[in-house]
Homo-oligomer: 252 residues x 6
């Protein structure tokens, strides 16, 4: 049920039954010498598509690029500016609304995107666009809180985490032959967010933030994916069950 593989009459048919669509969004940014530059969008895409398959809901093409200015001192990272992503979010939601979608969710794989996506959604509501718009980060449900402790010995950290590295390792195992494997000290320098690119590299010289990505394995990745899909399905079912506002009742 990927939008990209349909023809327009198939979308018309879907819209007679449902009005939900998921849009995976990630980033193109370094994930330390242990992880892939595409980690965030690869993970978000996988979890959105897996959930879409289970629930019979449509998944739109992935937004690979996100907000990563703080990673720009590491080669290969690419960033949109916040004002750009705000526009992208607005353009895409307005596009899907015009066809009749009314429950539109960005399935997010990168913390740096949160403010911009939510600002974009808030902006649409300021123009009174109808429907339920949401952003859900796949790693950020209550059900995911304990995963670092359970699977990774409390060494989850906050960037290049063993969870996300495990997910991509499970999905693209062959790519990890050339990646770092050595175990290092885990440092947690005091710092205040947001950081500039220069500050990020100074505080976190190898791109990890308090994490132990060497603990990531394919099998743990499979467990992370499953747990996240379960949690996302549960969360989506709850939101999708909410009624849409009925503008005829507005009392002004």
């Amino acid at each position: 049920m990927l939008l990209e593989n349909l023809a327009f009459p198939e979308v018309e048919a879907y819209l007679k039954e449902k009005n939900v669509i998921l849009i995976p969004v990630g980033s193109v940014e370094q994930h330390s010498p242990y992880g892939l530059i595409g980690t965030d969008f690869i993970a978000a895409e996988c979890i959105a598509r897996e959930t879409g398959k289970r629930m019979g809901i449509m998944v739109a093409p992935t937004l690979a690029y996100g907000i990563s200015p703080h990673h720009m001192a590491f080669s290969g990272s690419a960033t949109l500016m916040p004002e750009t992503l705000i526009l992208v979010v607005g353009d895409i939601v307005k596009s899907f609304l015009s066809h009749g979608f009314r429950r539109i969710f960005f399935i997010n794989g990168h913390g740096g995107n949160v403010n911009s996506i939510e600002t974009g959604l808030q902006r649409l509501k300021a123009d009174n666009y109808p429907g339920i718009f949401g952003m859900i980060s796949w790693y950020d449900y209550p059900e995911m809180v304990d995963i670092g402790r359970e699977l990774f010995d409390g060494k989850e950290g906050s960037h290049a985490t063993p969870s996300e590295v495990a997910v991509t390792r499970c999905l693209r195992p062959k790519e990890f032959g050339t990646k770092a494997t050595i175990e290092l000290e885990i440092e947690k320098p005091e710092h205040h967010w947001p950081l500039s690119a220069e500050e990020m590299r100074q505080f976190f010289p190898d791109g990890r933030m308090g994490s132990a990505p060497w603990l990531a394995t394919e099998s743990k990745g499979k467990m992370v994916i499953e747990r996240s899909v379960d949690a996302l399905e549960k969360k989506l079912r709850k939101i999708i069950a909410m009624p849409l506002a009925d503008s005829s009742k507005v009392q002004k």
Copy 2:
């Protein structure tokens, strides 16, 4: 230590000792028939100034207007668009940076502002501006979590809360003679954020969101202020003690 009451040589003198400045930011939006339209900026200003006085740090003039599109179906509310507040935040931080301030904190009184202010700060870091930039909502420290239960019988809700109404009642008691006092049912309709103005009024017809503002009293307001100032001071002292990044050490 209000910036507005100084002359420029006094600011120069301050900057020889310190580089911290607090900027209160609120909103101009309905707070139900029980509360003041200025609630958010009045509270943020009070708590920022009280904290500034205790800590001997400078407080800039207040930004009264914030992001309130969802309140626009209630008379008297005024909203900036997110792109506007993002620019305002950028202009003001760049202004203070140019004089040598390096620890710049928005003391926020309104949840709707969070994404825009944080996007504004993230944007500055994308241009590599140096220093520590933060946004702290006065009601959102760990220390404040239990206040609803302790003081307001668990009926804090999320808009026109008894906490914020109590703060303003403590500060401007005379203004409450004309406000509602009747006790109502507390409803918590299911809804998904963000809401448009029309949706907000439909779900929350009198502008409260699950709150019991009639429980607000002057004396409880005094307690809320004190607890918040304590918590803000503690939080600021911790952040101010963090070292600034040393750009000469960046390894790229």
Copy 3:
């Protein structure tokens, strides 16, 4: 009749009788070693509120920050960029229009704001927003022309003027204990407006522009306020009496 102290049903009630609102706007900029950084918004706020009280019309929260790029070489000044203030003006006027306000006036305390505010108002009319929108600078009525000669020996100048310093001295006398008092030469170097921050500091090294702020006294400040409120009331009564355009009569 301050908007910030009302609840939304009180605004609804007001709008059944009247459709006027005043919005004070100032700046956060140096006013020489003799005057307060907040001079412009403190004065505009006072005069708007005093006039609102006399006339029974509503006054919105103050916009403290304005367009002050030319003062940025003096510590403590903060400036919005013109495009930012244009957006702020548009957002706020559109907000008040949506509730039914139709006579909306910015009461201005800073010459640098004039072009941006008027551009913002012109922009709204380009989108055919209905109503009377105005910007009135409190020091710029015919009635105020002679005040420099009468009260300040012709040494009014054009920045850090004795008039505005007297107004703030009257309002916040305690803040002047730490300000300069020495009498200086009054220089009027030839210059062409607009100036950059660097040029401003070069031409006017202590931030005054041809003025004698040491002549400001509390009692003269009281006289300036009274005269300005008289003049503003007269001007507003005249404009408010003008009929609104009747769009049903447009002949296109």
Copy 4:
């Protein structure tokens, strides 16, 4: 000395001697049934070029389109939005600055442009661009104040004025064969600026604003041009004689 007729080595040669350039700017808007839609740019171009010829200073190509939203209910009017003209002004001034021009003047023919052009110039100074930037409206010198009384019986009004119609009549006499000639009542309805397109047409149904354009003659047009060129020359000579700021002296 029109820039458009030079090759780049000729501009290089000019810049070894002088750094002044004039840029005519007008509007494309109705001027009642008595006047030309191009009135404002035709007049500004003539007066700028005449002055340039006399003073041996360069004149850039004319900006025909300006800010005319209030005239859009009259066929043939075309308007830029203020944000567009602000960008145009910035782009052009930055272009000429890059070659070494340092005294750059917009010679303006339309009141509606004033705020946007001045905002554009103020914006450049906020970025510390060096040089003297000015906007001079050809009809707005002290020397021009009495011309309405002297030549047109006090019936100058404020749009489609006999002065500007006379200027274009002098320059393009053949175009006036098809224009209105009848004498009408001069009405001066009370109104508050700015007006929307609809309001403008309602208050001023034939596009004149308090003026008697039927009084315009070729010979009076010649007198208006001469007087304006005299005044502009005088004003420019004064400004051009002002020294440029010396950034090495800035004291911050």
Copy 5:
């Protein structure tokens, strides 16, 4: 039939018969030591006006300034930024649409403008503005392809071409007394478009791009104009004959 010479009732009368308007657009940029800085707008204006005269269709005032960042290392060039021209195009098309024009054509004289003008037109269609919007470069019809070979010995090149220099030489012969005449080598360095200003000057040090502008003569200019007007007329007649879309038939 120049819009600038009409009064609004004459435009109303025209619109009862026709809905076509031509808008000449050029650039202000160096054309080597052999050609005029105004070449592009002078040529576009001439060909648009000549075609308008023949076909009885209206011609709007000329947009002299275009997109010339790559010429900025040559004195006298002035450039708009692409975002500026996109806005200008949008503002002007929307203006003419509001009066009832429905076939609106930019007659273009500069290759650098093409992307921005077409982006501006595409943007209008994204907002569903009705009508036929086009951009036609006067030198870019099939009929013009062979002109370089026929008239200029295959030495047309791509900037400061003998065609465009001939057109301006025909129109403003007196301006060529001070221009270069010497015959040079024609070099065609490999390069990839777009170039920056610095790269342009490095690759093409005298501002020509593979052209022999010394071959331009007045009589050849006359031939170029005639051929281009013929071709433009033919092209316009074909487009003008196309029916406008009938929005009542849209099937969605």
Copy 6:
């Protein structure tokens, strides 16, 4: 050699050898009942990656969404606005430039993107960014001109072409089981570009533009891909061999 599968030290290593990167860009838009909504980005991604593999050059993550406002009357299409894509292009090129890439090519699969991408690249050169920036549409080389005639009986058309449908059919054969197969009349209604969404659907009711997508087969798709990769390789080798400008030689 996909960027998304590398860690940052691998990118650093690549940059010691090469400075080329390819960025596939497509659209999310209807391709008639015969083709996939993802056609444009699926094809561009395939051809870019295939070419990158052959040449040993890096390929960045795909930009799936493009400029498709004219397809918005067909369900499932999603469009960016031109100003959004211009920003996206700028952000991504600046990101890769910051790491040392100097030959950056968008491999494009959608005609509607051309103006916006080229405007974005032109804008970067206006700010003097160094390097060679290009946009190459995979279907638009001289070598591809005859493919419609050779493989598809001259029925290539201009949207939902048998070429692009064949490419995706070759890549994702299983998705075509649910697509249309019936042979229709090929109509070529006269129309003028650009079209609005409503106009597009009126002129081309089933979303094809003069094409016969039923002629697409997997084996022909393979041939199209091979020919396009050959041509793209040839074109890229030629451009990559061009020297970069040497800014030290600029003569201004």
